[in-house]
């Protein structure tokens, strides 16, 4: 009972008790909340930064693989062309000679298959004999033997082979579909068949001579006997025609994007690399502590990193089947906070925030830099950017991938400095001689575009990219240098005119 009374009386005493905290508590809470919100934003932007980097790497990898495969195709084509040039038929066009050569090879392969079909499993002895005998033969004998084996098939085999070649000749079908010359193709294939016998020896010799000898067979070799499949040749022809028609329709559809315009916005972060401030040299005007405070402020300002946003319109056009050119105009704003531990005053009664432009003025007249307690300054820079970029289309379908690169002319509009200290007012500086920033600067742009065409006229795209100024954004006489690298991800809506 006594315990309860004691505790109850204590509790009652504190029931409506109130003690006001000092004003600084709310200020500190606000600062903490802002710091946390900035941290959240940074985390989110880090994700986008990583996404941008990953997509650039992915795009470059894709382009590298494409170029590698393209170079392999080219070298193969060159090799084939060289082989064809060894013994061209005197009275035939190169195209026909190439076709004959291909048919000849097919015919030879067909005869080899025929042999295997008649003797499903090659005996160890015969295989060994054949292979052990071959290295001892000079190349001409080898060729003769090959020729002999090539001649082994009867005429009907050759005819069958030619028929198959006529049906399976994919290149010929493509030509027939694209040029609507199927009748010509048939006539041409007949011509190939007629000249096949005549040119067999002439073309077979270099082909077999160039072919490497098979390895020695020393152990038991199992030659698989695949079941003979006889696909319906008309079905195959129709299927290949349908496939080509579809590919042609797709090509026409996506190659039709010749001129477009897009609107979009982007968000990202910028970081200053390789920045610095030349120490101020004004001993007559500034004391050591003043100089230190001014230099600290300059260094802090030049190293400030923050967030960047942009909004703009672009116009683009296709200049080659896989190349595009696009330009536009963008409004860019870059926001960064830096710590200053100095203020600038001319009469020691009115004080303004210390930053590069104000500190630079201390060289003339009576302006003074005074050290003070550190305070935060929010620097918001605004630019107008005119980019021109070339793009290579890696994937040209409903889903598209494009690699972009180019330059941008950045025109400085103004910067606004807002000290977080309550006693100092906001300052806005335009471009011109008083501004520490270059009025015109140039930046390099690299990026990737992942897009999706969702209707005939519209395409939406995600554009991760990097922007790097070629020169410091500060004028050379300010004593500061900063080349902020911006990672951003843009979202664009494209309207296709044609």
């Amino acid at each position: 009972m006594e315990r309860q009374k004691f505790e109850e009386s204590f509790r009652k005493s504190f029931d409506n008790a109130e003690v006001p905290p000092s004003e600084k508590v709310w200020m500190n809470i606000e600062l903490d909340l802002e710091r946390l919100e900035r941290g959240d934003m940074k985390k989110r932007l880090t994700f986008f930064k990583l996404l941008a980097a990953a997509s650039v790497v992915f795009g470059l990898g894709l382009a590298g693989t494409g170029l590698y495969l393209l170079s392999i195709d080219r070298s193969t084509a060159d090799l084939t062309a060289q082989q064809n040039q060894v013994a061209p038929a005197p009275d035939e066009t190169p195209g026909i000679a190439q076709q004959q050569h291909a048919d000849q090879q097919r015919s030879n392969q067909s005869s080899a298959i025929k042999e295997n079909e008649t003797t499903p499993l090659v005996s160890v002895e015969s295989a060994s004999e054949a292979s052990s005998a071959r290295p001892e033969l000079p190349s001409s004998s080898s060729a003769d033997q090959s020729l002999a084996s090539a001649d082994k098939p009867k005429n009907e085999d050759v005819a069958t082979s030619n028929d198959n070649a006529r049906t399976f000749d994919r290149n010929a079908v493509q030509r027939a579909v694209q040029g609507n010359v199927s009748n010509q193709r048939m006539a041409y294939a007949d011509q190939v068949a007629a000249t096949d016998e005549q040119s067999k020896v002439e073309f077979a010799i270099p082909a077999f001579r160039d072919r490497p000898l098979p390895p020695l067979v020393k152990s038991k070799t199992i030659v698989p006997n695949f079941p003979k499949t006889e696909p319906d040749q008309i079905d195959l022809l129709l299927a290949s025609i349908a496939m080509e028609e579809r590919a042609e329709a797709d090509r026409k559809k996506y190659d039709g994007e010749r001129i477009w315009t897009s609107v979009g916005f982007s968000a990202g972060t910028f970081s200053n690399y390789g920045t610095g401030a030349d120490p101020l040299q004004a001993p007559a005007l500034l004391s050591t502590s003043n100089l230190t405070a001014a230099n600290n402020t300059l260094t802090s300002e030049s190293r400030a990193s923050g967030v960047a946003y942009s909004v703009g319109v672009n116009v683009g056009g296709r200049i080659a089947p896989r190349w595009v050119l696009q330009g536009g105009i963008n409004y860019i704003t870059q926001n960064a906070s830096f710590m200053s531990d100095a203020v600038v005053t001319e009469d020691f009664q009115n004080f303004s925030a210390a930053y590069s432009a104000e500190i630079a003025k201390t060289a003339d007249a009576s302006a003074r830099v005074v050290p003070t307690a550190p305070y935060s300054v929010n620097n918001n820079m605004e630019f107008l950017s005119i980019p021109i970029q070339a793009g290579y289309i890696v994937v040209n379908r409903a889903f598209g991938i494009q690699l972009m690169g180019g330059v941008a002319t950045d025109l400085f509009i103004q910067n606004t400095l807002e000290p977080q200290s309550g006693n100092l007012s906001k300052v806005t500086n335009g471009s011109g001689s008083d501004s520490p920033y270059r009025t015109v600067n140039f930046s390099g742009l690299v990026g990737t575009e992942f897009s999706y065409r969702f209707t005939d006229k519209y395409r939406i795209s995600l554009n991760p990219g990097i922007r790097y100024p070629f020169n410091s954004i500060y004028k050379s006489d300010v004593g500061l240098s900063a080349t902020p690298v911006t990672f951003d991800v843009g979202l664009r809506f494209r309207y296709i005119f044609d």
């Binding site: 009374k5 509790r11 005493s13 008790a17 003690v19 905290p21 000092s22 809470i29 946390l36």
Partner: protein, 185 residues
């Protein structure tokens, strides 16, 4: 004046004006809570600041199953306990063997809460926390023992010591001093 739901909604959206309104409404009461768990105004303000930041961060998850004031008070107490836990680790609580409490009925004299606060702040660290949790927040010794990682016996002995010290202090201050004499600690 904004009602509780409007305040919560505004704070959930991160609107600074609503956050300020919520702070203004509860900061004075919560300052008293923080003062009870600390030794100085500066220390209490640090706890208040940290706790309100947690309130604004955590209000998204507040399911309104209890009153907002109760929820905020709980955050204040937890933040204060976290702040004191480090000290408790350095100066662990031990059982108090001999405590002689006055056996007569004890009635709290008519003192202003600020004076009671002063007495509580003068208590040793362990006693202060256990007294606050048991006498004012209404936790049981078992709950206190679990919360602070001590035995129930330690919680009880710390409370008894706190109570004896407070009674002694109160008796000195009140007109009952002569009647009851000083408690032997």
């Amino acid at each position: 004046m904004l009602n509780e739901s409007e305040l919560i909604e505004g704070c959930r959206k991160g609107d600074r004006a609503f956050q300020k309104a919520l702070y203004d409404r509860y900061c004075r009461k919560m300052m008293v809570v923080c003062l009870r768990y600390s030794r100085s105004t500066a220390e209490a303000e640090d706890i208040l600041q940290e706790a309100f930041v947690k309130v604004f961060q955590g209000i998204k998850d507040f399911r309104q199953e209890s009153r907002l004031e109760t929820w905020i008070t709980r955050i204040m107490v937890n933040t204060a306990l976290n702040a004191q836990r480090r000290k408790l680790y350095l100066y662990p609580m031990v059982d108090v063997e001999e405590i002689n409490l006055p056996t007569d009925e004890l009635v709290l004299p008519e003192l202003h809460f600020s004076q009671l606060l002063e007495f509580i702040q003068e208590l040793p660290q362990g006693c202060q926390i256990v007294f606050n949790l048991f006498a004012i927040e209404g936790y049981s010794h078992k709950e206190i023992a679990e919360c602070l990682g001590i035995s129930e016996g330690t919680s009880k002995s710390q409370y008894a010591r706190a109570k004896a010290l407070l009674q002694s202090r109160l008796l000195k201050e009140s007109s009952y001093y002569k009647k009851y004499g000083e408690a032997k600690i």
